[in-house]
Symmetry: C2
Subunit: 467 residues, 2 copies
C-alpha cells in the first residue's frame, strides 16, 4: 500500500508545491486586524482542500477568542476504520507579521524558490508543515480510495496570537476530538537530514509591563526631578533577568524540573558545534545565558525572559525632548517543564510590583500563556514515528526538545490525554518569525513521505485508549 | 512715547490674537519630513508680517542643516538709530510633533480659546512668545513712524530639531548679527503674575544608543542562549542613571559648577510648594532625583539623563514572540553650567561602550547638542529688563534658571558676546512638548507691554560694545 501512496506523492510533487504556494500567498497575519479577512480566506481555502481530498464533515468552527484576533478553526474527519486507531492532525494556518518588511529579499507573501528553498512568511511556520499532513492523507486516499486509519484534522488560525479559541474548544468539546494520538509538525530537525522527534516544549507567559510616571508627557527640562516611565521600565527589566542571564524572580528557579541524567547524556551526544550554532543559527557574537547550564539546558530545560518591544514614547524621525508619561514593555517568559503559567505569572507580577521604582506605578498584564510539556520516549506512537522517520531519512531518529512553545500540545495532553508526536521538518536557519522565512523543498517532500509511512505503521497498532 | 505705543498695543489686542491664531494654524513640525512645506509656509508667513510692520531687508536664509530637517531662517532689520543700541530678537517658528494626537481636547493646529488660554501646538513654544516681539515692534512703529533703537530679527525653524542651521549661521556670519543684546522669549514665569528673568540654561546632548544582538530577529524559543538587544539595552540604560537619580558615568559630576551661595539663597526664597509643584506641574506621584540636592538644583544646576523612546522591536497590536536583533534608545542628557557637550558626549559614549553586555555591540550617536549658559544678574540689559517687567506686572522681578536648553543662547554668547535677556511669559502648566499646549492670553498681552517698555529703557542705555 505504501508504495502506491508514495508513488502518488512523488509523482505529484510539483503540484503539491504549487498548492503550498497558493496557500502562502494569503497574508493570514492573525495579530493584525487589517488582515482579518485574509485570515478567514486562508481558513476557507484549507476547508476546500480538505473537502477536495475526500474528507467529510468539513466545517469552520467560530472561536470566541478576544476580538479582533478571533479566527475560525478548520475541522474535518474521516472515521470509517472502526478497528484502527484515530489520528488527530493539528496545525495552524495563521502566520506572524512580516515586519520589518524592508529586510525581505523577496516579498513575504509572494513565495519564491531560491537554492532549493521556498521563501515566504509561513513557509515553515506552519503552513508548509501543516500542508504536508493534508498531502500525505491525499496521497493515501488517492492511492487506495480509503484510509487505513481514522483521521481528524483540527487546524487553527490563532496560534501566533495565543490560541485562545482552540484552547477553549479542546477544553469544552473533547468528545469531538477523540483520538489515540496527535501529529504536530511545527518543529525543526536537529540538523539537516537528521530525523528528529521533539518530545519537550517550553511553556510561556506573554505579558505587558506598563509603567506610568505622570498624567501627561513632560518637557525633559524637568528631568532630574520628574520620574521618567522609560528610565523606570529599564530598571525593572534589568532586575528581572541579570546580565549573566539568571532570572531574579524569587522562587521561579526552584520549580524547574531538571532533565533526567540519561536525557542530558543523549543531548551531549547530539551533533552540535556551539560556534557553528552561534554563527549560523543565532547570528550573534556570543552565546549568552546562565553559565551553570549547557546551551541545551538553557534552551530546553530552563526558563528565560525576553523583551520584544517597548511601544510608547517618541520613536519618530529626529529628536523630541519629552519625558514620556507611559512606557509599555511587551515581554515574555519561556517556562521549563514543571513550571505552570499561573504560578509563574503570579510570581512575575508580584516581583515587578515589588521592584517598581519610586515615583512611578506599574501594571502587569497577561496577554496569553502556554503550559510546558514533556512526553516519554517509550510512548508507542513516538516509537512508530521514530521508525518511520529512520526508514525515510536513512539515519537513526534523535529525540530533542525545543525552546519554543506549542500551547495546544499541553492542552491536548491535559484535556484529551493525547500524546503529541511532534514530527518537524524545519531547519534551524529557516528564519521563523523573522524576515526571509523559508522551508526546504526537499524536507517538504520527505516530510510528506515520513508522515505517510508513520500513518501506515500507526494503523497496525492497537488503539489503547485507557493506557 | 511709551503711552502711545502701549495704547496702540492695547487697542489692537483682538487683532494681535487673531494674527497669532493664523500663525498657529500652520503645522510647522520641523522634525517631520511630511511637514516640510508647512514649515516653509510658516517662515514665509513671518517674513510677510515683518515686512508689513515696516522692517527692511526681510529675507529667508536657507540653512545647510541635515536634510530633511533643514528649514530657513527668517531675517529682518531696521538700522536707522545710529546712536542707539541694537537689539537682536531671537525666536523660533517651528514646533514639536503633536503626538499623541488622541490626548488633545481640541485639534493641535486649530487654536482654541478656553478659560483665558489659547490652546494649540506652538501656542507658547515658541510661536506665541516670538509673535509678542513682532507685535511690540509693530506697536512702536505704528505709534511713532520709527523705532527708538536698532532692531534685528533672526527667527529659526529648526529649534526643535537641534538648530544646526542657525548655529552654523551664527558661527560663520557674526557681522550680519552685530548687536548689543538679544531678547529671547522662550521660557516661563516662575509663578503666574510673577515677572521672571531666566539667567541660566542647561545644555544637552541628544543621543541614540543602538544595540545590535544578532544579524536578524530570532524566534524567542532561542531565549536563554541568544542575546536580546532589548534586554541588553535595558541593562545599559539602568547603569547610566541609578534608581536614586544619580548619574553613574565616571567624572561627569566632577565637572559641574555648583551655584553660588547667594543664588542658592535666592532660590530658597522663591514662592515654591514642592507638593503643589509635584501635583500640578509634574503630575506625578513623587518627585524623584538625587536627594543630595534641592529640587531647584536638580532641575537647574545638575545634569540628568532621560530616555525618550525605544523604536524597534515589536510594538504592534497583539503578541509577537521575537528576539529583536536591534534596539535603539533615543535618550538625552541635560548639562549643568561648566559642562561641555563635547566632553560629556565623549565620557557618555566611552562609558556606554564599557558597560555593553556580553553578546551584543553598541553604537552611540550624537543627534544634536547645546551648551549650558549662565548670565550675571548685574548685566545692564538684564537690569533694564527687570525694571520694565516690575513696572508692567507690579511685582519685583525674580531671577531663575531653567532646566531646559536653548542652544542659540550659548552660541550667541560664544560667537557674538551677546548677553541674552530671557523674558519668558509661559506658565509651568502650559504643556509644552505635550498634548494640550497652551498660552495664557493675559500673559501674551502683558508680554507685549513688557517688551515695549524694556525696549524703551534699553534705547536710553549707551551701547558698550567692548564691555
Amino acid at each position: 500500500m505504501t508504495t502506491t501512496a508514495l508513488d502518488f506523492a512523488r509523482r505529484n510533487q510539483p503540484r503539491f508545491l504549487e498548492g503550498l504556494k497558493t496557500l502562502l500567498r494569503i497574508p493570514s497575519v492573525s495579530t493584525d486586524p487589517d488582515h482579518r479577512e485574509d485570515v478567514r480566506r486562508a481558513a476557507e481555502h484549507i476547508a476546500a482542500e480538505l473537502t477536495h481530498i475526500g474528507l467529510e464533515n468539513v466545517h469552520l468552527i467560530e472561536t470566541t477568542g478576544t476580538s479582533p484576533t478571533a479566527h475560525p478553526l478548520v475541522y474535518a474527519d474521516w472515521l470509517h476504520a472502526p478497528d484502527a486507531p484515530t489520528v488527530l492532525f493539528y496545525g495552524h494556518y495563521d502566520v506572524q507579521p512580516p515586519d520589518p518588511l524592508d529586510e525581505w529579499l523577496s516579498p513575504p507573501f509572494e513565495p519564491t524558490e531560491r537554492d532549493g528553498n521556498l521563501y515566504a512568511r509561513g513557509a515553515v511556520d506552519d503552513k508548509g508543515q501543516m500542508f504536508m499532513h493534508i498531502k500525505a492523507v491525499e496521497s493515501l486516499f488517492a492511492a487506495h480510495g480509503s484510509l487505513p486509519l481514522n483521521v481528524r484534522f483540527l487546524i487553527e488560525g490563532e496560534e501566533e496570537v495565543g490560541g485562545e479559541g482552540i484552547a477553549a474548544y479542546v477544553a469544552t468539546k473533547p468528545a469531538n476530538l477523540a483520538a489515540d494520538f496527535c501529529i504536530v509538525s511545527d518543529t525543526s530537525m536537529f540538523a539537516p537530514g537528521l530525523p528528529t522527534l521533539c518530545i519537550g516544549l517550553r511553556g510561556m507567559i506573554y505579558t505587558e509591563i506598563e509603567v506610568r510616571s505622570a498624567r501627561v508627557d513632560l518637557h525633559s527640562g524637568y528631568g532630574g526631578a520628574a520620574p521618567n516611565s522609560f528610565n523606570a521600565l529599564a530598571h525593572i527589566l534589568a532586575k528581572i533577568k541579570d546580565e549573566s542571564g539568571r532570572i531574579l524572580i524569587p522562587g521561579i528557579l526552584d520549580t524547574v524540573q531538571p532533565p533526567a541524567e540519561d536525557e542530558l547524556r543523549s543531548w551531549r551526544s547530539l551533533p552540535f558545534n556551539e560556534d557553528e550554532f552561534r554563527e549560523s543559527v543565532l547570528g550573534c557574537q556570543a552565546i549568552v545565558g546562565d553559565a551553570r547550564f549547557s546551551v541545551f539546558e538553557r534552551l530546553w530545560a530552563q526558563p528565560t525572559f525576553d523583551v520584544h518591544g517597548i511601544p510608547g514614547g517618541f520613536t519618530g524621525v529626529g529628536a523630541k525632548t519629552v519625558i514620556p508619561a507611559k512606557a509599555t514593555a511587551k515581554a515574555s517568559m519561556r517556562l521549563a517543564p514543571n513550571m505552570t503559567a499561573a504560578d509563574t505569572f503570579r510570581r512575575f507580577r508580584e516581583y515587578v510590583q515589588q521592584i517598581c521604582p519610586l515615583g512611578v506605578s506599574v501594571e502587569v498584564r497577561l496577554i496569553h500563556s502556554a503550559e510546558p510539556s514533556l512526553i516519554p520516549v517509550d510512548n508507542p506512537w513516538i516509537r512508530a514515528s521514530a521508525s518511520a522517520m529512520t526508514e525515510v531519512w536513512g539515519r537513526e531518529t534523535v529525540f530533542v526538545r525545543t525552546g519554543g512553545s506549542i500551547p495546544i500540545v499541553g492542552d491536548l495532553q491535559r484535556h484529551l490525554s493525547l500524546p503529541c508526536v511532534m514530527m518537524g521538518f524545519g531547519l534551524a536557519d529557516d528564519n521563523l518569525h523573522a524576515p526571509n522565512e523559508k522551508f526546504s523543498i526537499h524536507n517538504f517532500h520527505l516530510g510528506i513521505e515520513s508522515i505517510l509511512r508513520f500513518l501506515e505503521r500507526a494503523s497496525t497498532l492497537r488503539p489503547d485508549r485507557h493506557a
